[in-house]
């Protein structure tokens, strides 16, 4: 008791350290996407898929220029020859170089799939956003429409549309986009319904954010995860459908090449020259395989709740 009394304020000095400094975060901040990347990277399958995809994409770009042939030049002196010289995959029934055609076709197939995915995005995301965000009667009507459309088998619509439109890159992508956006709209709507009741949305609204700002700045970024996952699975579906359509005779017109067209041409030669089917079929399967691996990986990385 006695000693305490002898202490005067001038004996004390303020400490040098600042409270703020003590609490400073020295380690690198982990953003959401950083976290996603970390999880994606630790998934071996997804990484393999990603690398495969990268290689295929690069080959689709540079592959056709790696030897002197073009995808449509015919050379009747080298018909149906298995790999020789700089015809690394051999030649087809018209003496066209199969290596060039395969990679050129892979590029076209990827292009069609990306276009189809873009249609999904541009129709499905706004539709789902509006339906989920506004709710009430708007949502009710928009959902009734979806319910009716959802029952229509994609296959039937795509085939009919392609019978009507002349099958080209754009037409095929359009036909797939017209049917594909429904899944996307459902996914986005579901997410929107979940987000709508979250506190930060209420906070933003209280602070006077306009509807468009709310949707674009606050809610869309939070829907990106499921949207990306949906896209990653709709791309291989589109690639498959393109090949499938070509196989039943609704592919893009010759001399253009896509993987589907090449497989269809190869199938006709299967008994005599099986290699003409194997190369494009292998590339097609690899692309689908890679996309599925990456899609699985992204789903696990973006949505850890789903992870088993």
């Amino acid at each position: 008791m006695e000693t305490t009394k002898n202490l005067t304020p001038d004996l004390f000095e303020p400490a040098e350290t600042d409270v703020k400094e003590q609490e400073q975060i020295a380690r690198k901040k982990l953003t959401f996407w950083g976290d996603v990347w970390r999880r994606f990277r630790s998934n071996k399958g997804a990484l393999i898929g990603g690398i495969l995809l990268l290689i295929i994409a690069v080959m689709a770009f540079i592959g056709p220029d790696m030897n002197p042939y073009t995808y449509r030049a015919q050379d009747y002196s080298v018909i149906n020859k298995e790999a020789f010289g700089d015809h690394w995959f051999g030649t087809d029934a018209l003496g066209r170089d199969l290596w060039t055609r395969t990679w050129y076709g892979a590029g076209i197939s990827l292009l069609i799939a990306l276009l189809a995915a873009a249609f999904d995005l541009f129709i499905g995301v706004p539709y789902g956003c509006i339906s989920g965000y506004y709710g009430g009667r708007v949502d009710n009507w928009m959902q009734r429409i979806i319910e009716v459309l959802y029952g229509i088998p994609n296959l039937v619509v795509i085939i009919l549309l392609l019978l009507w439109l002349d099958p080209g890159i754009f037409a095929i992508a359009l036909a797939m986009g017209i049917t594909g956006w429904i899944t996307m709209a459902r996914v986005v709507r579901g997410e929107m319904l979940k987000l709508k009741s979250q506190e930060y949305v209420l906070a933003a609204r209280t602070l006077g954010a306009s509807t468009s700002r709310m949707l674009v700045k606050h809610m869309l970024p939070n829907v990106m995860g499921p949207v990306i996952i949906t896209i990653m699975f709709s791309i291989p579906t589109a690639i498959f459908f393109e090949a499938f359509l070509a196989f039943i005779g609704l592919g893009i017109r010759p001399p253009e090449a896509s993987l589907g067209v090449l497989i269809e041409e190869g199938y006709k030669q299967l008994q005599l020259y099986p290699y003409q089917l194997f190369y494009p079929a292998a590339v097609l399967s690899l692309i689908m395989f890679a996309f599925n691996l990456v899609g699985d990986g992204l789903r696990d990385a973006l949505d850890p709740k789903l992870r088993q």
Binding site: I152, L155, V157, L160, F244, F247, S285, F289, F291
Partner: protein
């Protein structure tokens, strides 16, 4: 429940009507006509032919006529096969397609369940990894690639099984196999996820604690509960099988509906295209409906309410 079913049926009808209308008008917008080599046929004859098939009337009239006939169960007559009704052709093609579909669902489900549960029980080991790779492969390799490979190796090179035609069970093996890869992949993947979830449940611990043998606890408790949600993948599977059957039937020359459909597209046999489209759509709509109902019946935890989610 009763109200839900009625509501769903109303939707099914609307969906079907949308499909029919869409198909009908799109079909008539198509370039070209069902008459081939038009320029070689004299005018009067052309008119007579069009008249016979009712193609000379204005489109709305044809549409109403078509709907009227459909209500009476008639899908019209094929243009290509003279005098054969579309219903007749459908009934001719359906058995082969249905047999292939059912066989591949049964075979695929059996293998898929086995693969999926083994993967879940041996989680993280090489068995699990191999099963996973197999299922992603089954997902990724299109059925027509599998079909052509099977037909080339098993059929042509090794000559074990017939590569085409229809008749005995042997003829069905290769097409069934080609179609079942997708089923195996889908089911295995699903069962694995469900199995992992079920294995972590408390009742599994109870089963173990009360001294149930491993086989009994897995067979009677784990697998049964894991199987229930797998019913939901049946819808997409049916769609996948129908898509696959279009090309697989062509590859193995199976006289089924898929083959007929592709052929009718190539020769612009309007009535057959319409018929098969309506048939496929109805089949899909009804099977998805049945699956939804079935789902609610098998698992009482899923309550089907009045279409509100």
């Amino acid at each position: 429940m009763g109200r839900y079913i009625l509501q769903r049926m109303a939707y099914m009808l609307i969906t079907l009507w949308v499909i029919i209308t869409f198909t009908f008008f799109l079909m008539h917008l198509m370039p070209g006509s069902p008459l081939q080599n038009v320029e070689k046929i004299p005018e009067e004859l052309q008119e007579a032919i069009l008249k016979e098939y009712g193609l000379d009337k204005p489109l709305p009239v044809q549409y109403v006529q078509f709907l009227g006939n459909l209500a009476q169960g008639s899908l019209g007559y094929s243009y290509k096969y003279d005098g054969r009704s579309v219903t007749d052709l459908l009934m001719q093609g359906f058995p082969a397609s249905a047999q292939l579909g059912i066989q591949s669902i049964i075979f695929g489900s059996l293998v898929g369940v086995l693969l999926g549960s083994i993967a879940a029980l041996r989680r993280g080991t090489w068995v699990d990894n191999t099963a996973n790779v197999i299922s992603v492969l089954g997902y990724s390799v299109p059925s027509f690639v599998i079909a052509t490979l099977l037909s080339y190796y098993v059929g042509v090179k090794w000559g074990i099984l017939p590569t085409g035609l229809w008749g005995s069970f042997q003829h069905t093996i290769l097409p069934t196999l080609s179609l079942s890869f997708l089923v195996i992949a889908t089911i295995a993947r699903y069962i694995r996820t469900e199995m992992l979830e079920v294995l972590g449940q408390d009742y599994m611990k109870t089963a173990k604690a009360k001294g149930l043998s491993r086989t009994a606890s897995i067979g009677r408790h784990a697998l049964r509960n894991a199987l229930i949600p797998a019913v939901t993948v049946m819808g997409p599977l049916v769609i996948g099988l129908i898509t696959g059957s279009l090309v697989v039937e062509q590859i193995f020359a199976v006289p089924g509906m898929g083959w007929m459909f592709v052929e009718s597209i190539q020769v612009k046999d309007y009535t057959v295209i319409m018929g098969v489209t309506i048939f496929y759509s109805a089949l899909l709509i009804i099977s998805i409906f049945l699956i939804d109902i079935l789902y609610g019946v098998i698992d009482p935890r899923i309550r089907i309410s009045g279409a509100k989610e």
